[in-house]
Symmetry: D2
Subunit: 140 residues, 4 copies
């Protein structure tokens, strides 16, 4: 069972903006990259072809402490802080060496997808839920 | 003095993802578009060339209620909910007709930029602060 | 029958990079925005839900003459330069006032989409082909 | 002296579009990632802080052969096909295993940047030109 993951990444030029730093929206992309890598580590794809459930985000947040700049190497640490019947919540920290750059949260919901129907929240399939657990100390 | 703004937009194809809806990170770009349009309505650019202050985001959040899809027309309403010495906070609502799609907040900080020095929070210049006020009822 | 379209747009902050100008990849997004707006002007969506044909790009190019910067207003002019059984080719010009900023081409192919099968080129459906024609003088 | 580079990458979810494949504009970002990695391999940054020259793209092109989908692993091979006084041209191939996905070209120009002045093409500084050479067979 997987409860956390760490990703190392470098800032790409197209992620910077004319203030000379990574655009704030890109941090959510970094968190998502780490999340999907964690799912792969758990032996899963979050969006396999033909899946009848999906995992849209329902609530996200981020606080920015320091800027990231072109070619900076950084880490994205993600860990599971809560698992409910239909949702999973993650906490993420983006850091560069010992410097905390940003910290955020993502809550995703499991939804059933049927062509032409609105998405509807549903229980996380047991074969998926069985691969994940809340990180130790995440409830502090 | 300006305290709110409404922007009408259409979903572009490159903003969608393979779940068939707008990627969640793009909602922050929509909120920023509305913010910058509000600054223009106030007679300002948030990032004029050669400016010695900038306005990075320090804290953002978004809740997602319904998906947006390719070519959907939608509105982004932004209003100022707080103005402090060094920060401004906005609340945003993304809606499609009468349907609430997403709601979010952005807090930006005024920073002084000096080549080769770290950014440092500073008071919002009075000629900028004079153009904005908190929206009526925003403190509820 | 539609053969050209002009779109007015403003540069968004997230489209700039740390060189202080619009990232070169965004110009392809501008061209696509103009293309999709032209399809709408023709009474069509290029990607309606549940469609069994799609229009991926098979060949694109762009030359860059001048930079675009944050908040610049610009026009994207697109016109059809060739229509074949399975492909459409467009020429695009991005300009700011009288200044030519960039010029590009896009060729799209009509493909049949079947779940679990590779995409396969197919004739453009006649109800789509009937809405478009090559722009006057485009063969010069 | 460096003349080519190969980068391995995985498709991220935010790079896909609602056609279920990587958006065509992202391939230019992949090529640029490979280019910048090649510069780093040569001991250089293409955009160091405070640099007085920059390398905007002046001409780019791409042909698309097969789609890339979420989580596909792929390679981007870049090699230098021409070096002139003020420009460098690269050829790129994106492949997934033995399958050619896309092939493209980028031409970049060296420009002098002065605050408040338009960019002006200039000779590539010798300490940069000395690190690169045209790839063997690239003139075929």
């Amino acid at each position: 069972m997987v409860s956390e993951h760490r990703l190392r990444r470098r800032v790409q030029f197209y992620e910077t903006d004319s203030a000379g730093m990574v655009h704030f929206s890109c941090f959510f992309r970094y968190m998502e990259e780490a999340e999907h890598a964690m799912w792969r580590e758990a032996g899963l794809s979050i969006a396999p072809e033909g899946a009848d459930v999906g995992f849209p985000r329902v609530s996200v947040a981020c606080e920015y402490h320091r800027p990231l700049r072109f070619e900076d190497e950084f880490d994205v640490s993600i860990r599971i802080t809560a698992i409910a019947d239909k949702t999973i919540t993650y906490a993420c920290v983006v850091s560069k060496g010992d410097t905390r750059i940003a910290s955020g949260t993502l809550t995703i919901a499991c939804v059933r997808k049927r062509e032409g129907e609105p998405m509807k929240a549903t229980s996380i399939p047991p074969e998926i839920a069985a691969r994940f657990q809340v990180a130790v100390g995440a409830d502090r």
